[in-house]
Symmetry: C2
Subunit: 271 residues, 2 copies
Amino acid sequence: MDKRPIGVFDSGLGGITAVRELKKIMPNENIIYFGDTSRVPYGTRSKQTIRKYSAQDINFLLQNDVKMLVAACGTVSANIQKEVVDKLPVHFTGVLKPAVDAACKATKNKRIGIIATPATIKTRAYGKEIKKIIPDTEIIANACPMFVPLIENGYVDKDCQVTRIIANEYLQPIIEQKVDTLILGCTHYPIIKEMIQEIVSQDTTLIDPGVEVANYVKKYLTENNMLNNSDKHGYCHFYVSDNIESFEAHAGVFLDENISGDVDFVDIDKY
Amino acid sequence: MDKRPIGVFDSGLGGITAVRELKKIMPNENIIYFGDTSRVPYGTRSKQTIRKYSAQDINFLLQNDVKMLVAACGTVSANIQKEVVDKLPVHFTGVLKPAVDAACKATKNKRIGIIATPATIKTRAYGKEIKKIIPDTEIIANACPMFVPLIENGYVDKDCQVTRIIANEYLQPIIEQKVDTLILGCTHYPIIKEMIQEIVSQDTTLIDPGVEVANYVKKYLTENNMLNNSDKHGYCHFYVSDNIESFEAHAGVFLDENISGDVDFVDIDKY
């Protein structure tokens, strides 16, 4: 039993899709979320910058006495260094490993697609992890730089013409390579999951990073006797590095009725 | 005669459209450009964050002994405070005032449109400046949050379907209000000027912030006897806050043969 909150962070607000899944399967857990809204997006930046920003995000969460760290951000998950993770005082997970495990279980034809930010695709980290499990998998990866701005600006309707044109363009190489499993390698992408599913066909298994990381977190906390067994609904406390009004202007597309909570500003440069 | 460089900065690379215009009319001037590529875009952030970032950008340029400061960024120009500008040790200009002056000269029907980032539109700064010159002008402003990511990701072709759909959406309210002059309130937008011109019709005068600020800078330097009268072509030195490869990956759409130059990294958090 451990009542401390789970610390979740993302470059911006996409990671809230993971918070939604965490609350769905562990409603009693307390969650502290940090969204780096003054520096979002990470996915078009260099690995040096991404690593510097992630270190600050983690420092902030550690000062809030979290029992576990979740990088609910594909870009951070793919760019963080093992040496950094190994030194952390609490258990850390990104979305990469849980998503890879699920994809390797799902694939039958050993052809797995990955869509993610440019900074994630550049690392080839998803492919490398997959090949550790199924070495002869064919990996088809494509960077989707426009998805984050489209989603953050509310172009998320299933019939939105603009997002559909761009999604068709990004998914065409994936479809041509006849993958049976597609990893959504960025926590923003589940917001347009239905559209993606339609474009790649219903036969393709989509791997949602938020769902998989939530399952992983529950398993880890259970095995280590760290679940919060309180009978009360846990809180969500959101922190953002830009001001609160900007959170309120953009968060609507990610939030649902189960995960409302206080929102506070944090000056992330100080961490 | 003053051989010191002109200091130009922007949230990212859009300000290079102003550098192009500066070099066109003053090829002998030296230019130091800072693009805050590790924190771009500014236009969707709060005024507090924009002001903090601008102060750091200006500090960096001042340490490079510039003779004048040019905020080649609509968002900074609209959000910077007069008290801050008044205290600067060298003359400062944003793109706002030069663009407003040009628009007020151009309009015949006193109906002026403004397209810019959300953070610029929110300030109403363009409208306020226009009304100081022509009080009974009708101002029609619209925020265009998708233009910066579309342009930075290369969706700039005149016939690009996606950008055209979004541009039509953004420009419709402007067209309906029968403006005869439209200010491009962000230095990224000149990259898609031809498409915008087609959509609003050839009868509408477009005000390009890069052209207007370059004319203003030339006038100021001439009047104050600060032009660089060297007979050599001046240098451009680019500094970016993300790494150099990311500059090289994104700058192509903005650069032309006249403004190549060295590129260096700067850790902007230290300023």
